[in-house]
Every structure is written in C-alpha cells, then in structure tokens.
C-alpha cells in the first residue's frame, strides 16, 4: 500500500490516496505515523513569514498542509496572534511607529512650508499604540482567513517532535494532539535574548516583544544594544518625544558597513537620542517610586555609573526558537554555538524530509522576504517539480532609523577584504534632499556610496544609501545588482528629477580621488 501510494504520488503529485479530509477536528491521537499513513503531506511548524508562505504555496499546489503556531508569552506576559515576529512584534508595528516619529518631524517642518501649526505638537502613545495594535490584529485575522480559504489546517499548539515524522502538542483545554507528515518544515523563528546574567534584567526589563504592545507610554527609556532593533526602537521613541538613551558596548550595527553605521548613529545623536558608548549594564533595580535604576560600567575606565529610567529595553540579539522542539527526537542537528538549525543549500536539515527556513536557520539573513522566498522555492522543489535554489546573495535591506539606511550587496570593508583595496573603487556623494532645504533640516549624514570593482566595466558590488525613504530608493537598485549591473551601466541610467534616488546614478567622485563629494546644484 505504501509503495503504491508513493508511486501514485509520483504522478504529478496531485493524486491523494486518502479519500477525504476530516472536517474540523483532529486526527485521533491513536493513529500512528507509519509511512504512507501520515496525516499531512506537509507540516509547517511556525506560522510566521516563512511558515505561512510555505503552507500557502503547498496548498496552492494541491497538497494537504497543516500549520502549527504558538506564541510563548514574553517574560512580561505579552502574547500575540498568528503571523509571526514580522507581523506582531517586528517589521509591521516597527514601521508604523517609525512613521509616527517621522510625522512628528514633518509637523515641525510644516510651518516652513506655510502651514500655521501650533508647536510643539504633543504625541499620545495610547492613540498610536491602539491604532498599531488594531492593524496588527487585523493582519492576524487576515492570515487566519487566508489559511482557511486555502484549506490549510491551523493548530494553535506548541509542537515538539516525537519522532522524525511526528510532532505532538497540547491544545487549549489540555488535549494532546499528534500530527504526522511526510515532509516537515521548521520555521519557528527567534525571540529576543535576555541578559539573564544581569541582576534584574528579566524582572524589570522589556524587549521588542513587549514595546509594541505597551498600553502606556514607556516614558524615559534606556535601550541596551547596538542592533538595528535597538536603533530603530530608540529612533522612534526619540521621534515621538521621549527621553531616550542607547547603551552600546562596542560597535553599532555589527555586520553592516561601519562607515554607514557610524553616520546612522551620528544622525541620531544630533537629533536627540543620547548615547552611552563603551558601556555595559551590570544591574537593574526597581526604586520605591517605581522607576528603574540601572547600574553600568564604562568598559574603558572601569568606572561605574547609574541612571534612572521608566523603561529598560533589551535589544542585544535574538535566539532561535528551538529549545522546546525536542529536535533530538527527530535527529535534526543544530549549531553548538547558536542553537540555530543547520541546513544545506536546499534548506535541508540533517534529516532527509525535514527542512528549515527563516530566522531559525544558521547563517541565513533574519529577514521576512528571504524567509518567504526561500519557503516558496522550497515548496516548489518539494511538490512542484522545480529545482531552483534560493539565492541569498545581494539581498537588499533597510534599517528604519530616523535617517534610514538602505543597502544591498557588500559593505566597503567586505569588498576590500574579498578583492583587495587596489581592486575596489568606491564612488560616493554627500547630497541634500530637496525637502530638507526649505525646512532647514540638517543633511550632514545624507550620503550614498557605491562599491565597485576597479577593473572595467566596474561591476557594482554594493550600494549604500543613507537618507529619507531609503527602502524605496534601494529596492530598484537591488534588481540592477542582481542583473550584474556595472558602474558603466549605472552611469548610463538617466536620473529621475528631483529625487534623492537620482543621486545614485549621478555618483562620479571616487574616494580614491580625494575630491570633495558634496553635490551642488541639479547636475
């Protein structure tokens, strides 16, 4: 029977030997996961960006799919619905709050443009949070509906492996459920790391899991960390008028181009965010009046200092959500350093029919679009007869700090490390966005650079843009780089005027020339 089922499935994969799907309910726990009698073609563990993309794609190819998603409440008790990090405690609420902060800036600009707006305009956290939270909830709902429409079975259970084809989980009400599948994709993502070695960190600090769900304003906030999460959060908190400090132990935005990263920080520092560089916290205490007292050490001098805050936000990195999966029961290998799941170029784990995508995977970008694309390509390979692999090169991304930083390709230091200084040419420009002129905004950090090979036609290795709407600017150029654009081709591309984006195609001054890279006038 099993062999026949396999053979039949081989014929275009559309034929299913099971006669009908069980309406509602769940397969009995008594059914074993013997080969050929499994509940699903595909089981996806994790209903985030990657997981949902896989599930929907497989369902579209006619497969029987189930998704299990479960959110362990944060130490502060925050929980959320279907959709994963991006929707609930990442990209989406972050961008909306970043937008709120940007609006604050535009309101300040408005009088310069002739608008008689009384200044200063106060910001109401509650109103913003409610609007953001409502939008996120609508997305949770939207995802539920989408799964239903595509006949993907959804279980809100915390799954763990029983064997390599079976997971078990406990549903509401305490009922234990067993689910088996021919193929399993692990897309459980990650969660913020807590510095548990710091006294008071767990009890008194919050993370990005909590900040977007706060009902009341976080008030005077200390953000600990130098990641994009830290800087983006500190950025919008400052933008809506809160007293915000960022504590960075060593370098900002590790892994990103460091010249650009320091300009991001410079901008934030000159626009109201306070920075404590080279410091590391040692203790957090709650004072009688409810405020938090943080003690830290200056890493160079060894001197100790304290400060009082309403909120402490830990943004020191993320850990993969693998601990409770019982991966050993399935035989799935993880990295001993990071506990992330190890995969090959086909997203395959150490177990032939188990795959992993997204933030939970070792060595992959922690980005929604890569998880989605990798997931879809994987499903196309499993059920759609494709052999296309995910290309993780030249993935564009943007850091949504107050002055946004968009990039694609290699950082300058990566390019130099790979090719040698003599073989790399960097074209750069300091530009001033037109909209900054009338409002008298400081454009000191508005900067763009293109890292190229020196040999003609000068292949573009990386593009870095610091300025308004960096995400919108960078996206189009990512296509160019994917197609192997050369500096020569960039030079032949006519700009759109007046935009900031055109500054990319107007890049002429190289770092090597030593000439002043400040743009003047229209050409």
């Amino acid at each position: 029977m099993a062999a026949m089922a396999v053979a039949l499935r081989g014929l275009g994969g559309r034929f299913r030997w099971r006669t009908q799907a069980v309406a509602g309910g769940v397969r009995g726990a008594a059914r074993g996961a013997a080969a050929g009698q499994r509940d699903y073609d595909l089981l996806v563990i994790g209903g985030g960006s990657g997981g949902l993309a896989c599930a929907k794609e497989a369902a579209q190819l006619g497969r029987k799919v189930a998704v299990v998603d479960y959110v362990e409440p944060s130490p502060q008790g925050t929980r959320w619905g279907l959709g994963g990090t991006c929707v609930n405690v990442g990209c989406i609420p972050k961008k909306l709050m970043h937008q709120a902060a940007l609006l604050g800036g535009l309101i300040q600009d408005a009088p310069h443009y002739g608008w008689e707006v009384a200044q200063p305009v106060p910001h109401d956290w509650r109103k913003m949070a409610e609007a953001v939270q409502n939008h996120v909830k609508s997305l949770n709902w939207g995802h539920r509906v989408q799964l239903q429409d595509r006949k993907v079975k959804y279980f809100n259970i915390k799954a763990s492996f029983v064997d390599e084809h079976t997971v078990c989980g406990v549903a509401k009400g305490g009922k234990e459920i067993l689910l088996s599948a021919d193929h399993i994709i692990i897309a459980t993502g990650g969660r913020p790391r807590y510095p548990t070695h710091i006294e008071g960190a767990l009890e008194y600090g919050i993370t990005s899991d909590d900040i977007f769900w706060l009902k009341e304003s976080p008030g005077k906030t200390l953000v600990v960390g130098a990641s994009y999460v830290a800087l983006e959060c500190a950025g919008f908190l400052t933008g809506i008028g809160l007293d915000t400090t960022v504590m960075i132990r060593s370098i900002p935005l590790r892994g990103f181009d460091q010249q650009m990263s320091s300009m991001v920080i410079e901008h934030m520092a000159s626009h109201g965010t306070q920075f404590l560089r080279g410091c590391a916290p040692s203790r957090v205490r709650r004072l009688p009046d409810g405020h938090l007292q943080v003690t830290w050490e200056d890493c160079t001098t060894g001197k100790e200092d304290t400060g009082t805050f309403d909120t402490v936000l830990w943004a020191i990195g993320r850990v993969p959500d693998t601990r409770s999966l019982n991966l050993e029961k399935a035989g799935v290998d993880t990295s001993p350093d990071t506990q992330k799941i190890l995969v090959d170029s086909r997203e395959g784990t150490s177990v032939p029919h188990i795959y992993a995508i997204g933030d939970v995977v070792e060595g992959r970008p922690e980005l929604t679009p890569t998880a989605i694309m990798a997931g879809r390509l994987l499903v196309q390979r499993l059920f759609g007869g494709s052999s296309d692999l995910m290309d993780y090169d030249n993935v564009p991304t943007t850091v949504f700090t107050p002055l946004e930083y968009g990039c694609v390709g290699l950082s300058e230091e990566e390019a130099v490390a790979r090719h040698g200084q003599e073989h790399v040419e960097v074209y750069h420009a300091h530009y001033k966005p037109l909209e900054f002129t009338v409002a008298g905004r400081d454009a000191s950090q508005c900067y763009v650079k293109m890292v190229c090979l020196r040999e003609p036609p000068q292949l573009v290795l990386g593009l870095h843009f610091l300025g308004p709407n960096a995400g919108e600017v960078t996206q189009g150029f990512a296509l160019g780089i994917k197609c192997g654009a050369s500096y020569a081709q960039v030079m032949r591309t006519v700009g759109i005027h007046p935009t900031c984006s055109e500054e990319v195609v107007k890049l002429r001054i190289s770092k090597r020339s030593g000439l002043d890279p400040t743009v003047t006038g229209c050409g």
Binding site: A100, A110, A118
Partner: protein, 443 residues
C-alpha cells in the same frame, strides 16, 4: 611634456586640473594617468587642425571660443561644464537667470509636492497620535522660501561656471549671416567651431484670435509668481504640468477645476469679481452644453510648451526645425548644419532635466574627447509625475508594448494595495503597479 609628468605623478586631484588649465596649449582630459599619453597625442592632433578660413576679423570684432552654448539651463550648463573639464574654452549665453526652467519656474523650485506632503502629514498625523495637529496654510511663507532658494541656486550656478572658467555672456543670442557660424549678443559677435543651442522652451498660450481673453490667464511661469493661494482655480490642460499644479492647488485649499480639452474653452472675460471662463462641456451620451465658471482668480494654461527657437535667426544658417519650431537633430544631437548642435527642451524630445544634462554631457565627450559614439540612449528614461499620488514610470506603456510586440506576446503583471502608511489613517490612497513584459522570456 613637463605638464604630462606632473599629471602622471599628481593623480586626479584639483591641483592637477588647475595645472592643466594654466597651460593654454594643452587639452588634458580628466583621465587615469595611463591613458593620459593617448589623450595627449589626440589633443595635440586636434589642436593642429587648421583653423577655418575667413576674412580676418576687425580688431576685437569677433570673440572666438572652442564651444559656445546658447542657453544657461540644465542642458546648456551641463554641456559647457563638461566641455570645460575636458579642456575646451567655453562660453554660455543667457538672457535671463542661470539654471533655466528647471530652477526658476519648475522642478527645483521646491515643487508643490513638498507643500502637499507637509499638508498630508498634518492631516494624517492625528491618526498617528498627534491629536492637536490642525493646519492652516499660508502661501506667502512658502513663496518667500522658494524665492530665496531659487536665488541661492542661481548664485550657485553662476559660481560653478566661474570656477570652471566658463565665460557668461549676458544677453540674447541670434545667428548672423557671417560665413562661419557666428552669433551676436548685444552688438558683440562670437564664434566657435562648435555651437550648442539649448534654449529650452516656454509655456504655450492660446492665441487671442482662437480664444478671446486667453491672455488673462497665466502659465506655469506665472504660477510660481503668485502671491496668494487662489480661491478659485481653473487649470486648462491634461499633461503632467496641468495635473501637478491642479493637484497642489486643490490640496492646499483652492477650489480647482481641471479642463482637459483646451479647444473647448471659448472665451475668458474679466469681471469685477474675477475671471469668467466660458466653455463647452459634454457628458458622454448627451449634447454639448455651454457652461461658465465665474469668479476665477487663477486661470492657468498648461496646454503644452513651445520651443524657444524663434528669436535665434536660425534661418540665417538654414538650421532646420519642425513645424512647431523644435530644432531637428539626429541621435548625436547634430543639426543639419555642421558645427551646430541642440539639446534639451528645444528639440522637443523627452523634456526632462536629467535628459538634457545627459545629452549635453555626451555631446561634450563626443566633441572634446573624440568619443565618436558618445550619445544618449533615449530608451527607458524613467520619469515621475508628481500628482497625488505620484506616478513613476519607465519603459513602454501597455499600449506601446502591444503595438510593438503584438497583444499575444505581451503579458501584464499588476497589483493594487493600500500602503501600510494608511493602515491607521482615515484617508486611504491605493498604490497600483503594473509591469509590462514581452515575449517568452518575459522581458
């Protein structure tokens, strides 16, 4: 030779460029040292070309340059500056302010989009948590800022030319009947083996004879001179200028009408309470009807632009134009007369600043660096209409693609969504995208 050695050792720094210019006998292009030798021999060869013969000019009668540029706008300035960088002795003739249309009357003068962004922001701000954000608009403030910014740009352009040792000739140029192509500006004559016409265009206004009272309306030139926000505006036209201006005025609070067929405007009268605009309108399926809009304080013609070629005395050299006056050029920007070229709006093709700049520069490289094949590719030029919401476009329209490839070979991908910005606002605007692909490879 001493210059060559200096060039090879000093690299492409500013001092090197100054040294090059200090020696009038040499034309040293901005090249990597390895290529300097080649360039130098080319430059020397160019210099040895015999000067065109003609009657010797009377003392001081005709000033001679390597490159004469008529028109100090986007195209003219870019071409002159690039030519100067390549070693040419250049002069720019300009009768108004430096910077041209782009700077003074349109693009760079803090386009209205910015006003409206600020407006939109204050309106949406409430949804993002700024409860007390109410805004009233004061036109004077933005006009002052705009005017100041434009003045600053005019000065910047002037400085750029001075820094590049480009002579600025103030006045209006016209070709003469001299055997060598020569122009005359305010009684003085100038000549060059290469003359570029980059005089741009002006907004069209209908003739009084076609539409009585047409001159009571203004154009985009006048729009930026307005001292107050008009309370009732009528914009006539259907191109991007009409759409953009109508969008700005409407969003800022002027009651605005957009008249798409200008030949349907019949008459404009002046009354004590403003202009009276009479027009023929037709609801599809019904008979045309005469309507009248009273109390208009701003009638703006945005019905197209005419090339600025009439006052140049092009006929003296027989320079060909089309029936609208656009100067006819080939793909290398050559007119039908040797040594005379044209770029930008005056040619009537792709009326965009970056296009004029790019074409002007390509021309400079062709003429003064002897890059014989240097020309602008006019395909796939991206552009934006700053309407609300704006439209960004590059490549063929759907109709153009179908016409070129045949309907069966064209595939359209499209999407429509509400940007997340509007997730929390009352006002929602859709974002629509369309990708037109052709043939099997879906290019």
């Amino acid at each position: 030779m001493a210059l060559l050695t200096r060039a090879l050792s000093a690299r492409a720094g500013p001092s090197w460029r100054r040294a090059a210019r200090a020696s009038p006998g040499f034309q040293l292009p901005l090249l990597e040292p390895a290529a300097v030798t080649r360039a130098l021999s080319r430059a020397m060869a160019c210099r040895q070309e015999p000067q065109p013969q003609g009657p010797p000019p009377a003392a001081g009668a005709v000033a001679s340059y390597d490159y004469l540029v008529i028109g100090g706008g986007s195209g003219g300035l870019a071409s002159a500056r690039r030519a100067a960088e390549l070693g040419a002795r250049a002069a720019v003739v300009e009768s108004h302010k430096l910077g041209g249309t782009c700077v003074s009357t349109a693009v760079c003068s803090v386009r209205g989009r910015r006003f409206v962004s600020a407006f939109r922001s204050t309106a949406c701000a409430r949804s993002y948590g700024f409860p007390s954000c109410e805004g009233k608009f004061n036109w004077r403030v933005i006009k002052e800022k705009r005017d100041a910014y434009v003045s600053r740009l005019n000065t910047i352009y002037q400085n750029n030319l001075t820094k590049s040792h480009i002579e600025i000739i103030r006045g209006h140029a016209a070709f003469t009947s001299d055997p060598k192509p020569t122009i005359e500006v305010s009684g003085k004559k100038y000549t060059a083996p290469h003359i570029l016409i980059a005089t741009g265009g002006v907004p069209s206004i209908p003739h009084e004879s076609q539409i009585p009272g047409a001159s009571l309306g203004i154009t985009s030139d006048g729009f930026f001179q307005l001292e107050e926000l008009p309370s009732r505006s009528v914009i006539v036209g259907a191109g991007y200028i009409a759409v953009e201006i109508a969008g700005i005025l409407s969003a800022l609070g002027s009651k605005t009408s957009l008249m798409i067929r200008h030949d349907k405007v019949k008459e404009v009268k002046k009354t004590s309470s403003g202009l009276e605009v009479s027009m023929v309108t037709a609801v599809p399926g019904s008979l045309p009807v005469m309507t009248m809009i009273p109390d208009v304080d701003c009638l703006l013609w945005a019905i197209g632009r005419d090339p600025n070629s009439k006052g140049l005395s092009l006929d003296k050299l027989g320079i060909q134009t089309d029936d609208k006056g656009h100067i006819i050029v080939d793909e290398f920007q050559n007119t039908n007369v040797k040594g005379i070229y044209a770029v930008g709006d005056v040619c009537g093709k792709a009326l965009l600043t970056p296009v004029a700049i790019a074409a002007g520069r390509k021309l400079a490289h062709r003429l003064f660096e002897h890059k014989e094949d240097s020309k602008l590719d006019y395909n796939n030029i991206p552009t934006v209409v700053f309407s609300h919401p704006p439209i960004g476009t590059v490549g063929l329209t759907e109709d153009e693609a179908i016409h070129k490839y045949g309907e069966e070979n064209v595939k359209i991908y499209s999407t429509s969504f509400t940007p997340m910005y509007h997730a929390v606002t009352k006002r929602k605007t859709k974002c629509v995208m369309k990708m037109v692909c052709a043939n099997k490879e879906e290019k």
